[in-house]
Every structure is written in structure tokens, then in C-alpha cells.
């Protein structure tokens, strides 16, 4: 508030004042999205979650490249093997490059079964961009390079161990990330469009339409959702291909995810419709289309994004749960739920705990979506403080 | 007339995300028994916050200045140093309600919606008076009658939302007075009411104060209300009292440029169609408080280099009147 032309100020103070002044001007002419971004940035946990989720999504999108092996590639030499942790040192000295020891087959002295034991005399070095299986990234970019792997193309590394068929848990988890996240995205999108249409109709037309829609929404909301999904999932013909099942699943998840969202859209519409500035636009002679696109939608979008983000966890958890009990995706598809199917028993916890690693992904993804949702919710209404 | 409350150098700071802000700085006033102090100011002047500090009702993010003194003399003559009390505890609770009562702007919001009027009144009565349930109830009915609520016997069992706005504020007054306070703090009690209802409530409060001989602090932004109800007035601007003195004298002959501007800006019913004289500029936000005199950004008589650099002292201009302005300070006069 001090006068800038005050002669008593030192140049440094003046610069400081000038800087503050510029910042204020920047704030004054900041649009909605800039304000939201500024506020969201302040939410450190949400930023961290966003980065984590971004990494996860990238890994999923470029699964062919990121995963060292295919989802069904078997390593018969290493079945139900524990995770192999890269190391820099062993009994034979240290190295600057990480490596793992090879394995050799021995007979268990008691049961006489063949088991794999580490062979301290062999070393396989880990590299980036190694040659491996030929794959098509994103389905069309052919390459035989993989992000990470062993120098020796004949040897395999299993960061997170293998399952009972010798499939690499790390690679499978990366592929599963793609499936599970994409089911979430598609499911949310489907339910979003349904919600937008249904909630929009209720909020826009009001009256009888609204009453009927409200009643139907009410009915769908009281039905326990997983048993309902189960009913629909059970109806899927057993002979369907994995792709068909995949799309059917997204459709089912999307088909019943809309009621909560539709209710929110409806109430948002109703409250925005009565905002003074919308009335003002109407009195200024704006047509309905202009009122909706210029005045209602912009204020509405940020809230809807929040709702979308917080409805992801339900989709992901539902898919995981359904696949877990065998009603969702089925092998040979890989999703987090499908992977966890192999870990259904207490025996698995005791003997092959690494099969639970996909669960960490589920928890992290759901947590990340929840935290981002919280951060967005705080940021979505940048004008609440201004009052 | 005995002095019941002395407040000296009251400063209140809040911790916020953007740093510490101090919406109230160096406020001093006092209340005598049987007299009404009007605290007048526009939005952001810190009038409500100051009285909440008196009752130690501020949130945990708030802190009082080091040389803040708030001394209250109880009904039995003890002096309580309010600034030393904890926010929560037996000593301050003894003061709240029983010694100092408080009425708020929103009568609906100051009642809990899920209990009857009678329930909430009886609670206050039993906390501060040695009465049983029966007695407390009939006392509640008596108090409702006293504030002019008809059919009090039935009203006592109604919920707040079943009463109209004016009735609710009357019930709130009855509730507050039923605890028997010696000092009443009324925070804009009539602002949310219609003109005719406001007049009724002002009338009622004036009568009750005289009848019960209470001291009263009446907070408002309306100088008209002050003129009608207050004996003394303190004018607040951005967290400081810029002028104080007997209401009559201050309103007739304001000394601070802000008080002068405020009075001139009020539309009068006697001089129709005249141009109004606004105070130029906007009220700065409390977290961007100007340096020096807080009013200098809008003051037509500001002394450059002085008013914007150093805050003025409080100057006694006449017995019982004080003003915080360089124009009344010898140093300021010399500089001008």
C-alpha cells in the first residue's frame, strides 16, 4: 500500500514492491484454470499422487517397452521363484554395474525335488535398452528393445519373482496396469456420459422427467453394487473372447456407475441455473445455448472433473474384486484382479508373498486418485475464498 | 457510576496461510455500569473480533498482543484480568453468561435448531442460578414474557425455526438476560431485521438496560442506531479506534476525518435530493493494512510524509474525548 514514488525507498525495496505489484496484477488477471492450478500446486500430497499416477499410466501405455518380457512368457527354469534383487557386490567382489547371480538346479536333499538355487559364480549384468522379445509398442511400433533387462538375451531377470507357471510378475503387473487403468478410464467415461445425459435431462427439464429419473436413480442406488455387477458379469457367455469380456466389463461398470454422478450433475445444474450471473445473462438477452456454453458449463466443468476423479477408485476396486472372485476378466487377460486371483489363500501369503505385489499397485492407484480428488476439490472452487 | 470494564491496548493477531495478520491493533475503551458504549465501524474494522476477544471466544489461531489489558469487575467486586485466563476453563466460564452476556447478529444461527427454546434457556439458567428444573422453566417463561413474547407458556416448548425473525431475536435476548449478566455485548443484533422490527427490538433493549442497570456494548455499522441507543461511542477503522467520546458530542462535532466522512455520507431524510458526500476510495482489506495512519489512503486532509509513515497517537481533545489523528497532534500541526 505504500506509495511507489516515495523517494525514501531504497532501490531494493522498490524492486521488491514492484515485484509484489506484478504478482498482484498476475493474480487479478488470472483465469479460472490458472487459479485452480495455483491452488492445486499448493497441495503437495496431491501433486505427488499426480506424479505417481502419471508414471503408472506411462508404464501402462508403453507396457510392451517397459516390461522386460511378455505377460505370458514362461521361464520354466524359474518357477515360483522369489524376486531377484539387483546387487553391486557379492562374494566375488563388487561392480559398478548392478547384476544378479545366475541360478542352478539342484535336488532338494530331503524331498529330492528339483529346485533352483542361486549360483554365486555366475553374474548377469543389468542394462537399459536391452534386446529382447520383438513387440509392437502401442500396437504398431515394432521394436526388440526393452527399457530394462539383462545383457545376456538368454538369461532372464525377475525383479518381482515368478508365479506357478514361471511368468514374470513384474512384466505381468505392468501389463495389468494398462488393463486395469484403462477399464477404469473407459468405465468412468461411459458412466460420465450416461450421467451427463440423464442428470442433465433431469436438471434441465425438471418436472415430471426429473421425478421419474430421480425415482429410477434411487432404485439403482439401493441395489448393492457388487452383487449387481456379479449378476451381470455372470450373464456373460463363457465362450466370449478376452476382448469381448473386457468391453463387456467396462460396459457393466459404466452402466451402473452413473447414479451418484447424475445426482451431482443435476444438483449442480439446478444451483448454477439460479445464480445471479446466469439470470443476468438471461436478462441481457442471451440465448439458452449461450447461457449454457458461456455461463453454466465453465463453472460446472471443474466440479465435474473432481467427481470424475473420485469415481475412479470405485471402478478400479470393483474390477479388481470381480476379477478376483472369477466373475470379471479371465485369464489369459491380465489385470490387477486377475493377478491377485493367484494369491487367494493364506498359503500364498506364506509361500509366495511376492504375488501380492499387484495389490500394492491397486492400493497406490486408489490412494492416488483419492488424494488427487481431495486436492482438486479444494482447488476447484477458487472463488470461495474471495467472498 | 462504577467502571466495569477497561480494555487497554487490545491487539489481536491471526496465523493464516499467508502469514500473521493483525486485524485489531491497540484498541482501548471502557464501559461503566448502566451505560451503553456504541462500537461503530464498517466491514473489516475489527469490531466483532474485539468483543469476541473479551469473552475469549477467538479460535486457536488467534493470539493477543503482549501488552493487552482487559480488566473486568465482577458483580461482587472482584477484578478479573481476562487476558491472563485460559480460553477454556472454570474462570472464564464464570464470566461467560453470568457476568457478560452476548447477543449475535443472526438470531436463527445462534440457537441450536434441535433443542426447544425452553431447553436452551433452562440450560443457561441452571448454569448460573441455583434453580431446579421446575423453577428454571417458570423463570424462562417469565423472561419470555418480559421481552414481549405473547403466549410464552407455549412458545417455551417450540423450536427456533417455528418463530419469526423478530421473535427469535427477542427470545435470544430473553435467553441471554436470563443468566443475569451485568454487562451485555450486542453484536449487530438488529441488522438482520426489518426496519419496523428493528425499532421494536431497539426499544426493548433500551428499556431492559435501564430496568436492569446493565452495562452494554452495542456493535453496529449504523450511526443512526448509535445516536439512538449509545451513551458513548468508539469509531473503529481497520482495527483501531480512531475517535471516542460521548455519543452526542462525537456525532454533533466529529473530530476525526473518518468520522466526519462517515457522518457526511449518511443519506439524510431531511435534505432530499442533495448530492451525497462519499468517502473517496475503498476500504483496504485487513491483511493489506496501510502503514502509518490506516485512514491516510482515503483522507483528504492527510499530511504527506507523516500520516503515511507513522501511526498517530491518541490525543485527548476534551475531557472524555479522544481522537487518533495527526491533525490534532501538535507535531502534526507543526508539520502541516
Amino acid at each position: 500500500m505504500t506509495d511507489m514514488s516515495d523517494p525514501d525507498l531504497t532501490p531494493k525495496q522498490k524492486r521488491q514492491l514492484e515485484k509484489e505489484h506484478q504478482q498482484r496484477l498476475k493474480y487479478y488477471s488470472a483465469s479460472q484454470w490458472t487459479l485452480i492450478w495455483w491452488r492445486f500446486k499448493r497441495h503437495r500430497a496431491a501433486m505427488l499422487a499426480a506424479v505417481l499416477l502419471g508414471l503408472m499410466a506411462l508404464a501402462g501405455i508403453f507396457a510392451e517397452f517397459v516390461a522386460p518380457y511378455g505377460p505370458v512368457t514362461r521361464d520354466t527354469k524359474y518357477i515360483e521363484g522369489p524376486p531377484q534383487i539387483p546387487k553391486f557386490c557379492d562374494d566375488n567382489g563388487c561392480s559398478l554395474r548392478p547384476f544378479i547371480n545366475g541360478t542352478k538346479t539342484e535336488r532338494d536333499p530331503v524331498t529330492l525335488r528339483a529346485i533352483s538355487v542361486p549360483d554365486p559364480d555366475t553374474r548377469y549384468y543389468i542394462s537399459l535398452f536391452v534386446k529382447g522379445e520383438s513387440v509392437k509398442v502401442l500396437g504398431f511400433i515394432p521394436t526388440d528393445r526393452h527399457l530394462i533387462g539383462l545383457d545376456d538375451p538368454d538369461q532372464k531377470i525377475h525383479f518381482w519373482g515368478t508365479d506357478d507357471l514361471g511368468r514374470d510378475v513384474f512384466s505381468r503387473t505392468i501389463y495389468a496396469t494398462r488393463t486395469s487403468l484403462s477399464i477404469g478410464v473407459l468405465g468412468v467415461l461411459i458412466s460420465f456420459f450416461l450421467a451427463l445425459a440423464i442428470g442433465g435431462a433431469a436438471g434441465f427439464f425438471g418436472g415430471m422427467t426429473d421425478n421419474v429419473i430421480q425415482r429410477v436413480t434411487e432404485v439403482i442406488r439401493v441395489v448393492p453394487i457388487i452383487p449387481l455387477y456379479m449378476g451381470l458379469a455372470a450373464a456373460m457367455p463363457k465362450e466370449w473372447s478376452t476382448t469381448q469380456v473386457y468391453f463387456a466389463m467396462t460396459l457393466i461398470l459404466g452402466l451402473f456407475g452413473w447414479p451418484t454422478l447424475a445426482r451431482r450433475i443435476r444438483s449442480q445444474l439446478l444451483s448454477i441455473r439460479n445464480e445471479d450471473y446466469v439470470v443476468a445473462a438471461r436478462l441481457a438477452g442471451a440465448r439458452p445455448r449461450r447461457i449454457i456454453t458461456q455461463h453454466m458449463l465453465p463453472s460446472f466443468t471443474s466440479f465435474i472433473i473432481v467427481d470424475l476423479v473420485i469415481s475412479f477408485p470405485y471402478m478400479i476396486l470393483s474390477e479388481t474384486a470381480l476379477s478376483f472372485v472369477g466373475l470379471g476378466l479371465r485369464p489369459p487377460s491380465v489385470s490387477w484382479g486377475v493377478l491377485l486371483q493367484q494369491a487367494q489363500s493364506v498359503r500364498a501369503i506364506e509361500q509366495t508373498p511376492w504375488l501380492f505385489i499387484p495389490a500394492v499397485f491397486v492400493v497406490v492407484a486408489v490412494l492416488a486418485f483419492t488424494v488427487i480428488g481431495d486436492g482438486l476439490r479444494d482447488a476447484a472452487d477458487p472463488y470461495s475464498e474471495a467472498k | 457510576m462504577s467502571r466495569m470494564l477497561t480494555v487497554e491496548n487490545l491487539s489481536i493477531s491471526f496465523r493464516t496461510d499467508e502469514g500473521v495478520i493483525t486485524p485489531v491493533q491497540g484498541v482501548s475503551f471502557h464501559v461503566d455500569q448502566g451505560r451503553t458504549l456504541g462500537l461503530v465501524g464498517e466491514s473489516g474494522s475489527g469490531k466483532s473480533v474485539s468483543t469476541k476477544a473479551l469473552m475469549r471466544l477467538l479460535p486457536g489461531t488467534a493470539s493477543l498482543g503482549a501488552d493487552t489489558r482487559m480488566h473486568y469487575t465482577t458483580k461482587d467486586g472482584r477484578v478479573v484480568e481476562i487476558e491472563t485466563l485460559a480460553n477454556d476453563g472454570e474462570p472464564i466460564r464464570k464470566l461467560r453468561g453470568g457476568e457478560i452476556g452476548m447477543i449475535f447478529q443472526e438470531p436463527m444461527a445462534s440457537f441450536s435448531p434441535v433443542y426447544t427454546i425452553g431447553n436452551q434457556m433452562m440450560e443457561a439458567i441452571q448454569l448460573h442460578r441455583p434453580m431446579g428444573r421446575r423453577e428454571a422453566r417458570s423463570y424462562a417463561v417469565e423472561m419470555l414474557n418480559k421481552v414481549g413474547i405473547s403466549n410464552a407458556e407455549a412458545r417455551v416448548d417450540q423450536y427456533p425455526h417455528e418463530l419469526s425473525g423478530g421473535m427469535r431475536q427477542r427470545a435470544m435476548i430473553a435467553l441471554t438476560l436470563s443468566a443475569g449478566p451485568a454487562l451485555l455485548i450486542a453484536d449487530e443484533p438488529t441488522t438482520a431485521l426489518d426496519v419496523t422490527i428493528q425499532a421494536q427490538v431497539l426499544d426493548l433493549m433500551r428499556d431492559l438496560q435501564q430496568e436492569l442497570g446493565m452495562g452494554m456494548i452495542f456493535i453496529t455499522h449504523d450511526l443512526g442506531v448509535i445516536a439512538q441507543i449509545a451513551d458513548d461511542v468508539a469509531v473503529m477503522y481497520l482495527g483501531t479506534i480512531v475517535e471516542r467520546g460521548p455519543a452526542r458530542e462525537v456525532i454533533r462535532a466529529p473530530q476525526h476525518p473518518y468520522t466526519q466522512g462517515l457522518l457526511a455520507a449518511i443519506p439524510s431524510l431531511d435534505k432530499l435530493h442533495d448530492r451525497l458526500s462519499p468517502v473517496p476510495g475503498d476500504i483496504p482489506s485487513p491483511n493489506a493494512r496501510p502503514t502509518g495512519c490506516p485512514f491516510h489512503t482515503r483522507c483528504a486532509q492527510k499530511i504527506a510524509g507523516l500520516c503515511d509513515a507513522r501511526p498517530p497517537r491518541e490525543i485527548q481533545t476534551q475531557p472524555g474525548r479522544a481522537v487518533r489523528c495527526w491533525l490534532h497532534d501538535d507535531e502534526g500541526r507543526n508539520a502541516a
Binding site: 449387481l228 491397486v362 483419492t370 | 471466544l57 453468561g97 443472526e106 433443542y115
Partner: protein, 330 residues
């Protein structure tokens, strides 16, 4: 209050009618009809060659050739008038026999879970709001995030693992081996209670996390209300103040979401049941779905939903009793 109750009763009846329609439609969705599956199950492996005519005969016998709307009324009429949910072909007996006392087991699990949820979440939520911003508050926030994120079946597995290590192997399921098929007795009930806590804890987990957040949020709002400040200004002691004013109102959203909690619990039940080896409706439902025994599945889905609708009704009544503003507004 009477009118209010009546109104809600009628609302409940309408919802139940619509729900039953929906459930019926879901029962009809699986490919092929009941007769197909009946014939397949009855004669597969017996060497009998089933012709289209045979199936048609079964269809007529069972009344499956009638239009859907008639079949719906047959079905719902049987349920409402005679308590008959039809035949469970996978078990070759009536659905009622199959479901039987599993209804009571499920009810037991449900109420154990609900009570556990509210006993934990309400006091903790209130405490977190009062101590807002403290370490305890942050800890609870992190806990409730985890509660929302951890899939319940995983939790069930982990709990089972530890329960096995600490309490011995016989903790899964609802009964110890010696009581599993024994007739009901006091000892059996006691044995059940000893097993009931595990599913209750697992099922309560996410509900607790959710309700802590709800209670904390409303309590925080209520704490900032003028009525609380006003009561404090009257000298009401702090503890009593918290309980009488904000806490009393912070319970309202919990009461209004009882139905929602029941929904959540029923949603998780089938999956948790698989992991914990419970023999309740949830597990049966899963089995029925996998076998495409739609009469059983439909009956269970219908019962679960009715329970939710009924709990919604109860929560409405409870809320109206708790909050005087609702009765008058209705």
C-alpha cells in the same frame, strides 16, 4: 409423525416394486433360459439325448412359455403371498430351503458390522474434528485413506493370516468344525460369536474409514457454527457443549447414510465371504451366479436390496426423530 411414517412406507413400497422388476430382468439376462439349464443339468452325463421338444415340454411344465410380464407376476406373487422363491435347481430343492437360516447369519454379520462401525467411527471422527490439525488428526486421515484404498478381500487375507498365526488355524468360516452341522444350541451360538468378529472387522474397515471422514467433516462445520459460539458465550462447560451442540448434529449424516453403509457391507460380503470361507448369503450368491442358478441369485439379490431399502426407511424415521426440522418440512 404418523403421516411422515406413512409417506415413507409408501415410498418404500414403490421402491421395492421397482427393485423387484430390476432383479427379475437381471435374472432373465443370462443366455438360454431356465429350461435349457434345467435340462442340461438334469441329463448331462446320463447319456439321454435331450431334444428341443423335451425342453419345450419342460418349459410348458414350468410355465416358462408365458410372456415375461406373467412370469414376473408369478414370481413376485409367490414371494409376497406364499414366501415361495421358486426352485433352486442346482440343489434340487426350494430356494427357501437353500437360503434358510443363512438369512439369520447374514443379519448377524450385518448388525455386528454396523455396531462396530459406529462405535469406532463416531467417537474418533468427533475427536479428530475437535483436534483438527493435530498429529492425531493427520494420523487418522492417513488411516482413513488407507481404509478406502485397501481392497477388502486383501484385508481379509491379511487378517486371516494373522488370525491363524495368533489364534490357531480354526478361525475362518463361521463355526468350528464340531458345530458346523450341529443343531442350534447355546454352545453353537457362542462358537459363532467367536468367529463373527473377524468378518465384522473386515467389513467394518472401509465403512469406518468413510464414516470417520463424514463425522469429522460435519463436526468441523458444526464447531464453527454460531450456535456453538453462542452456547460457549453462555458459559456452557466445554465437554458438555461439544456433546450437546455440535456432536448431536454431527451424528445426523451418519444416521442418514445407514442404508448406504448396509449397501457397502452387502457389496463387500460376497467377496469377503470367499476369502474367509463364510457360509452366508454372500458366498451362496457367488456360487449361484457361477452356477447360473438364477432363482437363488435373484432371491438373494432381492432380499439384500429389500434389507437396504428397509434400513433406509428406518434411517429416515430415526433422522426425523433426531431432527425436529425434518418433520415439519415434510
Amino acid at each position: 409423525m404418523l403421516r411422515f411414517t406413512l409417506e415413507r412406507l409408501i415410498g418404500m413400497a414403490i421402491t421395492m416394486l421397482l427393485v423387484s422388476l430390476m432383479v427379475f430382468i437381471i435374472m432373465e439376462i443370462p443366455p438360454g433360459d431356465y429350461a435349457d439349464r434345467y435340462a442340461f443339468r438334469k441329463y448331462s452325463g446320463t447319456g439321454v439325448n435331450v431334444t428341443e421338444a423335451d425342453i419345450q415340454a419342460i418349459r410348458v411344465e414350468l410355465g416358462l412359455d408365458k410372456p415375461m410380464i406373467f412370469r414376473y407376476f408369478d414370481w413376485i406373487g409367490g414371494i409376497v403371498l406364499r414366501g415361495d422363491f421358486g426352485q433352486a435347481f442346482a440343489f434340487e430343492t426350494s430356494v427357501v430351503k437353500v437360503i434358510g437360516d443363512k438369512v439369520w447369519l447374514t443379519t448377524g454379520i450385518l448388525f455386528a458390522t454396523l455396531i462396530l462401525t459406529y462405535l469406532i467411527s463416531i467417537p474418533i471422527g468427533i475427536y479428530a474434528a475437535v483436534r483438527r490439525g493435530s498429529a492425531v488428526d493427520y494420523g487418522l486421515t492417513i488411516f482413513s485413506y488407507l481404509g478406502l484404498a485397501l481392497p477388502n478381500f486383501l484385508l481379509a487375507l491379511v487378517m486371516l493370516y494373522f488370525a491363524n498365526r495368533w489364534f490357531g488355524a480354526d478361525i475362518g468360516g463361521l463355526f468350528s468344525a464340531e458345530y458346523r452341522d450341529a443343531p442350534w444350541s447355546l454352545a453353537k451360538v457362542w462358537d459363532m460369536l467367536k468367529h463373527l468378529w473377524l468378518p465384522a472387522v473386515v467389513l467394518a474397515w472401509s465403512a469406518v474409514a468413510y464414516q470417520i471422514q463424514t463425522v469429522r467433516a460435519t463436526m468441523s462445520d458444526e464447531l464453527n457454527k454460531l450456535s456453538v459460539t453462542a452456547a460457549r458465550a453462555r458459559g456452557v462447560p466445554e465437554r458438555r457443549l461439544l456433546i450437546k451442540y455440535p456432536a448431536r448434529l454431527a451424528i445426523n449424516p451418519v444416521v442418514s447414510t445407514i442404508g448406504f453403509d448396509v449397501n457397502r457391507i452387502f457389496s463387500e460380503l460376497p467377496i469377503v465371504a470367499v476369502v474367509l470361507g463364510l457360509t452366508d448369503l454372500g458366498e451362496l450368491l457367488l456360487k449361484a451366479y457361477l452356477d447360473l442358478d438364477m432363482n437363488v441369485a435373484g432371491a438373494i439379490l432381492l432380499l439384500l436390496t429389500f434389507a437396504i431399502v428397509f434400513m433406509n426407511f428406518l434411517s429416515d424415521l430415526l433422522l426425523a426423530w433426531l431432527d425436529p426440522r425434518i418433520k415439519l418440512g415434510a
